[in-house]
Every structure is written in C-alpha cells, then in structure tokens.
Symmetry: C2
Subunit: 307 residues, 2 copies
Amino acid sequence: MANTQPVLIVGSMALDNVKTPFGDVKDALGGAAVYSSIAASYFTGVRLVGVVGEDFPDEHVEFLSSRGIDLTGMQRVPGQTFRWTGYYEFDMNQAHTLDTNLNVFERFRPTIPAEYADSQYVFLANIDPELQLQVLDQVKNPKLTVCDTMNFWIESKKDQLLEVLKRVDIAFMNDAEARELCGSYSLIKAANMLREIGPKVVIIKKGEHGALMITKDGFFSAPSYPLEEVKDPTGAGDSFAGGFIGYIASTDDISEPNLRKAVVYGTTVASFNVEDFSLQRLGSLTPRDIADRYCELKQIAHFEAIE
Amino acid sequence: MANTQPVLIVGSMALDNVKTPFGDVKDALGGAAVYSSIAASYFTGVRLVGVVGEDFPDEHVEFLSSRGIDLTGMQRVPGQTFRWTGYYEFDMNQAHTLDTNLNVFERFRPTIPAEYADSQYVFLANIDPELQLQVLDQVKNPKLTVCDTMNFWIESKKDQLLEVLKRVDIAFMNDAEARELCGSYSLIKAANMLREIGPKVVIIKKGEHGALMITKDGFFSAPSYPLEEVKDPTGAGDSFAGGFIGYIASTDDISEPNLRKAVVYGTTVASFNVEDFSLQRLGSLTPRDIADRYCELKQIAHFEAIE
C-alpha cells in the first residue's frame, strides 16, 4: 500500500467578487491556497498556511476543517481578508481584475508551524515569490516542491521568481505566462527553456486545451475534459495543481508515470471546479465523481497502437 | 488484410509565395488538393481533380505522379495557375493574405472522370462550397465523404456551406471557424452544434493544441506533436485531412476506433509538413518516419488507468 503523505500548501485565502456571463457571486470563498487545498483534500491530508482577517466567516473555517484540512498554520489577524474583484467575458482564459485589496495579506509572512516543517510534499501556490522563498527556507529537505505563479509576478518580481524556479522541483505556469517569461512564441521552446532554469519538471496549463508536462523523459500531453459550459474559471489552475500534488502525496510516488496520472487527476478536479462559482462544485465531490471522470478522460485520450 | 481503397480528392492546386519568420519561398508548389493528396499518398492511391495553368511546372506534375497520384482528373487549361501570396508572423495560427489570384481557378468546374465516379472515399478539400456540391452530385453512393472549409466561405457562402455540411459524413474545421460558424465561444458547444447540422463526425483542428473529434460515441482528444519550431504552417490542415482520409481508405474501415487512429496519422503527417516550406518535408517521408512519429504520439498521450 502507498505510504500516504500529507501536503503542505501555502498561499492566498480570499473573499472574491466574481462576474461571468453565467452569473456572479459576492464575498465568495476563494484564494489560491483554498482552491488548491480543497482539491488536494480529496486525495490526502492538507496542512494549510495562509492568513485571513476578522471578517472571514466561521462557516468557511468549518468547511475547510470538514474537508480534513489542518488549519494550525492559518493566521487570523486584525483587519479585512484579501479581496479580489474581477470578471470574465466569453473568453474564459482571460480574467479582468477590477480591484485587488490585499488587506491582511499585505503584511503576511508565512510561518510554517514546527509540526509542519518535516512536510515531504510542499505546494507554493500563487503568491509573491519572495514569500515562496521564505517557505522554502523553512521546510527541511522535502521530497517534492511545486510552485505556481502568475503574470503579475513575472512582470513585477522576475528575479525573485527565477530564484524560486531554481529551487523547486516542479513549476506550473499557463501558456501565456511561459511565453512571456521566456520571450518565446513557441510553447515547446519556452517549456524547454523553463526546465533549463531549474525545475526538473514543467507543467504548462492550457485551459480548454489541456496541459503539457515536460520532464527529462519527454512530453506528456493531457486532454481537457470537454465541458459545454464553463461557469466560472476562477481557481481552475489552483485546483489543477492541488489535485496534482494531492494525488502524488497520497501515493508517495514521484515516478514519471505517476506524475502523468497526477496531471490527469488535476485535470479532473479542475474540470469540476469550473462547473460552478467559488467552491460550490469543487467543495462537494465524491471519490466516485473523481474516479468516473478520470476514466472518461482515459477514454477521451485513447487510441490504438500500430499493430 | 484490409481491402485498400483509393481516395478521390478535389480542390485547389497552387503556386504560393509564402514568408514566415524562418524564411520565404516563391512560386512554390501548394494548394489544398496538393497538400492533402501528397499526405494521403503515403497510405493509399489518390485520384486528384484540380486545375492548373500553362505555367504549372512539369517537375510538379512529375513529382505528383512519382507519389502514385493519378492525374487523369487534373485539368491543364490556358492561363496562369492559382497563386496565393501570404505571410505569417510568430503566431503561426494566423495566415495573412497579401494577394489571391484565382487565375484559371476562377472558371474551374470540377469534372469527375467516369473512372473515378465509383470512388468510395471522397475528400472535398477547401474550395468554394458550390464546387463541393457539384462533386457530391457526381459521385455514386460513396462510403465516406469528408469536407474541409475556411473562414472565407463561412463569411461569403454560408448557405452553400451549410448545404455541404448536411450532405457529408465528416467535416473538418479549425477552432476559430467552428466558433464563427456556430456563433458560440464554447468549442464543445460549437462542435455539438455542427453535428446537429449534418455531419456524423466533426473534427476540430486546433494547431499546436492538437485536434478534437466528436462522434455519436463522444469525444476524442488527440495531442499535437511537440515541435520547437514551425517553419511554415501552410498546408497543415490540408495534410492533416489528407493523412486522415488516406489512412481510412487504406484500411476501408470507418469504425470509431479506426477514425481515432486516422486522426493521429493525420496529426503525424501534418507535423512533418510544417517542419519546412511547401512540400519540402511532406514530400519526402518514409513509412518508417510516419510509424515512428505515430508511436511517439502514442507515448506522449499515454497515462495509466486507475488500478
């Protein structure tokens, strides 16, 4: 049997105001660490490090706890919780930010509780790369470190981000970000360049076009799950990465074939996430939901070998 | 053994002037029927129906013949051959047309030679949908009809194109065209709408993101072949469709699993095509080249099932 390991996740916890062509939500639970923790929680135990303000509703704390997420590392401090207000038009790949209020997140310094310091699986969700480096300084010899990022950090803190990339094992990035960071229109060239910077494995998120993983052994192309309607893409990348590392930690197996399975598990949970706003769908999955969709993806990607 | 069938291909034959960030060619062999015929010729016999002018070099005729392509249906008429002049910038998905001289193509009426009328496999390459309808009127009860098209016909001859879609078995379209024709941003919704118009099978070409096939049984997502550099994307869609129907005709098997294999064979030959200008790479493949890359794509798309 697999030697199931917990995963340590550090990142933002937020209250979001989101509008899409299919509706809107106000003060809805969000943030990269929340989406990725919930996604990972379907596979293994999660240790969450983040910060919320006095206004963060107890029901959200209870919901996270109910998913088995350890909140010892969640700081609750005076002030308001981080708030993001944005909207999407029909091109759901493009988030439009109307307002970002960092609030308590502005002075956040991640402190890894002593009992988390031995975490073998660490996910640095999308936050300031300086904070990601602080986390890396606090964990002892982890087996696998994974980071995510966004265009904002590529543009404002490129040097720190490059430093993070030198120190992690696996980097997630979307296609536009990979092209921007590497200054290459060719996604394949950009992916190879990213590997040369540091991470042994690069995973390019392509939204409706699936995902591409690059390792020393070559490429893995994962399909996306064909949805007629994406109601709210917020958290898609976070839940993808969370499902990915959650599955790996649950199996304690970082072999290349297992990384491929993890990409497909990530795809699976992310596809549920975008079916509704906030955590409304991602928060209520069953193991059967996940297994069934994984099998569907297997069928969608299947073709016969040459005889 | 498979009951290998020839494929009838009708479409444009051209001399192209193409410029990309990697170089340029002048008066180079091109045209949808040429690219698709050469691609299909690696799998089965091809019957080509098209038109060229007096200026069409003999060496191109010899080259087509050397690939076993039957040119009984190629008309050579007074005047100049169809010429397309265009360029690509770094976004290779977007062709920019500088000049289109229809020349002899302007008065082209496809005439299917009597000995081709029993063709079981028919590919209507990208031409005026009115001409595609004329071809459908001339073939006797084919086993499989396949069409391709482009945004120009969606905008200028939508009614005729819809008529073609009602009468063919399989329609190829790129993602932007499918969205435009169906007025839907969701590619999955657009693909399903296309199937409701008529074709039992729809194949969406997504360039660097691979292809998506929709049948009554569901979706098939094919990876693209990861190339660091695309030198010239001209003819990518044509060679994809040509490889697809060529493989199907060679096996005389229109089952869904075989359609999946055909999509991957189409992907394979198209990936070679974009490695160089005009027919410079596509024109000189070996069966081994094709088989090796098919196997690579199989490996690229592979992930394990749940135990």
